[in-house]
């Protein structure tokens, strides 16, 4: 194979993987949030979490469809969502973490909402107009998600002794998964050079400042940065993703092609 054909192909594959990372992050988070349906602490929160879940699944559908087209092997959104195994999923490891209690879910949500604000905000100006359009649509949802999650973060952090302790515990537990959010790898750098993706190290301080300000209002402590062995965007996941997929994909795996 000549260099002339190798380069565009490698470029196309990197592009596809980049979109899949965004897609899978939304899909897995949407599935996690859906686990709350029927169990949330109040009827109103049940609906709020279901709404969030549907927003993320909507984002995932647009992104998965696009990733399938970039891949060019005829896989549609359903094939990508329901017929891939855990190592092929490229979501951030943060979103596959179990729900825990309501505060734990809120901390996870708030960390990812603040991340999406930066990512979608930057992708609105991507040279990839399809991705820019999806980002422009999604960021309106993200702004509400962030309003919701940061509101609860402050309310529970600056709440009772018990709620504060639970929020701090959740933060301490989830913080190690944030190292991945703005750590660029080859694919991020390659797409940044093409003008498709933002430079992650430039976005990191903005995320960090927002997080610090919210933590201050919530009277919570920012944990120390920890090394992490996961690389969700590279397909290296925690043990939780497989269980999540087992439930999410059960129907299509048991009855291939089932529709209703």
């Amino acid at each position: 194979m000549s260099a002339a054909t190798t380069l565009p192909e490698a470029q196309q594959e990197a592009h596809c993987r980049y979109v899949l990372r965004l897609a899978d992050t939304s899909l897995v988070l949407g599935q996690r949030l859906a686990e709350w349906i029927g169990y949330a602490p109040a009827l109103e929160e049940d609906l709020a979490l279901a709404n969030l879940s549907l927003d993320f699944i909507g984002q995932a559908r647009l992104l998965l469809t696009y990733a399938g087209e970039l891949e060019g092997r005829g896989r549609d959104e359903d094939a990508l969502a329901f017929l891939r195994d855990a190592p092929e999923f490229l979501n951030l490891a943060l979103v596959e973490q179990p729900n825990g209690d309501f505060g734990h879910t809120i901390v996870r949500q708030w960390l990812i909402d603040a991340w999406q604000l930066e990512i979608y905000g930057a992708l609105e100006h991507s040279t990839d107009t399809r991705l820019a359009a999806i980002a422009a649509k999604s960021i309106r949802e993200t702004r509400y998600h962030y309003r919701f999650s940061s509101g609860w973060l402050v309310r529970l952090g600056d709440g009772t002794a018990e709620s504060r302790e639970r929020m701090q515990r959740a933060l301490d537990d989830l913080w190690r998964f944030t190292a991945e959010l703005f750590a660029p790898d080859e694919i991020d750098e390659r797409l940044n050079r093409e003008g498709i993706a933002p430079a992650l190290p430039e976005l990191a301080p903005r995320w960090s400042a927002r997080v610090d300000e919210d933590l201050r209002r919530a009277t919570l402590r920012r944990p120390a940065t920890q090394p992490y062995p996961w690389h969700g965007k590279g397909g290296v996941h925690t043990e939780h993703l497989g269980h999540l997929l087992g439930e999410m994909q059960h129907l299509q795996r048991s009855y291939p092609g089932a529709r209703w």
């Binding site: 602490p41 109040a42 109103e44 609906l47 709020a48 709404n51 509400y144 509101g151 309310r155």
Partner: protein, 95 residues
Amino acid sequence: MSEGDWPLFEVFIRSRSGLEHKHVGSLHAADARMAIEHARDVYTRRQEGVSLWVVRSADIVASDPGEADALFEPARDKVYRHPTFYAIPEEVKNL
């Protein structure tokens, strides 16, 4: 924290074509900000509105149903108060 501890709020929505906020129901929330978010999540999922008001139910002063006769009956035989006896100029909308 349980929902039982949260005060009740009344929710009013102005629809896209509507001129005024209409009462649509009530919900529980810990504070005003949460009440707006709950109202958005519970009552505007199908594009029902473009503006929301919430007010604590306890802050609404209601008339006493026992006084309904005294309050509202006297208006019954005063049909001349309806503006149906006047020609409405075309320029006047939304009367």
